[in-house]
Amino acid sequence: MRDVLSLYSEKVMEHFKNPRNVGEIENPDGIGHVGNPVCGDIMELYIKVKDEVIVDAKFKTFGCGAAIATSSMVTELVKGKTVEGALKISNHAVAEALGGLPPIKMHCSLLAEEALKSAIEDYLTKSKKGKARRHKENAKCKIQ
């Protein structure tokens, strides 16, 4: 049997099989909670920030293979980045880092981007360092 399913890239499967940074952070500096059970994807993303740098990130995800892999990847990408830098991580960057996603799964990468933005906003609000920006609405049950 092939180890890698052709639906997903090798990289996606690698992250799916061994997701990085699973779990919660005690006393996080920001939490992002996005998704919707109707659509079958729920992501929670926790960040720890020190001197405007994201020093740790963890996630919990209910969702398909792509949802788990993008969660794993976004936590990897974000670590060590400044808050400003992290805000620039787009869903395409996440998908790209995973070697691409099938078109019908691109919405998962969007969810990961939103989870990150939402966690950062939460951090900014709590730390009163900025005004709360409205993060984008959760992805509707629709393929982007």
């Binding site: 399913l5 997701p19 659509c39 079958g40 919990k60 209910f62 969702g63 293979g65």
Partner: protein
């Protein structure tokens, strides 16, 4: 790693005997059955032999069978056929919210063209109440279409009872028997149906061939217009090897049905019992006893179906899910939602459907592997946490 196929409701391997029966019709007896030379007539003879085998299994007359390209075409043909043929009589169809896409989308396409469709409720096990059928009938009702057994959660519907009601009311009655023909006894007269859909690839025949039973006397506009094949009911050069294969598959199914039924029922119950024992927060979907003998459908709390499937696949197990994520839409299975399941539970469904090659060992293997997968996924589930 061994591969364990547990998705026989999605499709079956073509039986080697079936392939053997088909082969001469590709290269040797390849003539067009519409041709009058002996060479075409031989192909025609082979088709008629297959037709009588299929008819025989379901208690029909040969002339009442029309070969199609599969179950979907049979459903489209039946439903659109009745709707277009009887436009002058009425424009109301009664069906269920748990039909296969082929029935469901066909009805929706007719709704967009002005046909009124009643989707009967089903109970939490997926059963239609025949009394509801009776109550839904109006003087504009031209068709009742209720599937024989549901492909997803396996519930077998009270078709014979609905058949009686339809007959009394003199309304055409169609059933999608794609999941039952060849697996459990199906008799068009006992069921009291006028139209019945079948598909070869669900019973160890080839993909791309099926049939619609059309009770003698039923007027039905063709779905595929063109040549005069199939007594002018379905145009297009006949898929001779496919039809021959369908016939052979039906023959084999008939021979093995009783024995397989017993064997598979035992394996199915072993799997259901094992899953309920070894995994907590799990529930069986569909009816416990009025159920396809090879179908196990469970919902696993807190985890999503596709991620279970992928993990199962990594362990060599092929199964299926009603989670949206395995299809190109995002909503979870409308069938499971119709049973009253929450979206999470519908997303967390897993279907195992057993077949010819499965043994007790396969069941044991699933029971060994799946609990670990569930544990792993639950460890990363935000839903579980929120309930702590």
């Amino acid at each position: 790693m061994r591969r364990i196929y547990l998705d026989y409701a999605a499709t079956t391997p073509t039986h080697p005997e079936v392939v053997k029966a088909m082969l001469p019709y590709f290269t040797d007896v390849f003539g067009n059955p519409s041709s009058i030379y002996s060479y075409g007539q031989e192909a025609k003879g082979a088709i008629e032999e297959a037709r009588s085998k299929v008819a025989d299994l379901i208690g029909a007359q040969s002339e009442e069978l029309v070969f199609t390209s599969g179950g979907t075409e049979a459903d489209n043909f039946a439903i659109k056929g009745v709707a277009y043929t009887n436009e002058h009589k009425g424009n109301h169809i009664i069906t269920t919210p748990i039909e296969h896409h082929a029935g469901m989308e066909t009805c929706k396409s007719l709704e967009r063209r002005g046909v009124r469709v009643t989707y009967l409720p089903v109970d939490e096990h997926g059963l239609v109440d025949p009394d509801n059928v009776r109550r839904a009938i109006t003087d504009k009702t031209i068709l009742i279409s209720v599937m024989h057994a549901n492909n997803e959660m396996g519930t077998i519907e009270p078709i014979a009872e609905i058949g009686k009601i339809a007959r009394e009311a003199r309304i055409y009655f169609h059933t999608d028997a794609v999941q039952t023909v060849g697996h459990i006894p199906v008799d068009v007269n006992e069921l009291g149906v006028d139209l019945l859909s079948m598909s070869a690839h669900k019973l160890y025949g080839p993909k791309g061939v099926g049939a619609l039973y059309v009770r003698g006397g039923t007027k039905l506009l063709p779905f595929m217009h063109g040549g005069e094949q199939e007594r002018r009911r379905r145009a297009s050069t006949e898929n001779v090897p496919g039809i021959v294969g369908f016939g052979r598959a039906i023959e084999l199914a008939k021979q093995e049905m009783d024995e397989e039924a017993e064997r598979l029922t035992y394996l199915r119950d072993q799997l259901i019992k094992g899953l309920l024992e070894r995994i907590d927060h799990i529930r069986l979907n569909g009816h416990l006893t009025k159920r396809l003998l090879n179908n196990v459908n469970v919902s696993v709390d807190f985890v999503e179906g596709e991620s279970m499937l992928l993990n199962l696949d990594l362990e060599g197990i092929c199964a299926s899910t009603g989670s949206a994520c395995s299809s190109s839409s995002l909503e979870p299975s409308y069938v499971l939602l119709a049973l009253g399941l929450s979206p999470e539970l519908a997303h967390g469904s897993l279907r195992f459907t057993l077949g010819r090659e499965n043994t007790s060992k396969d069941i044991d293997y699933v029971l060994e592997v799946l609990p670990k997968i569930v544990a792993k996924l639950r460890a990363m589930s935000p839903l579980l946490k929120s309930r702590r």
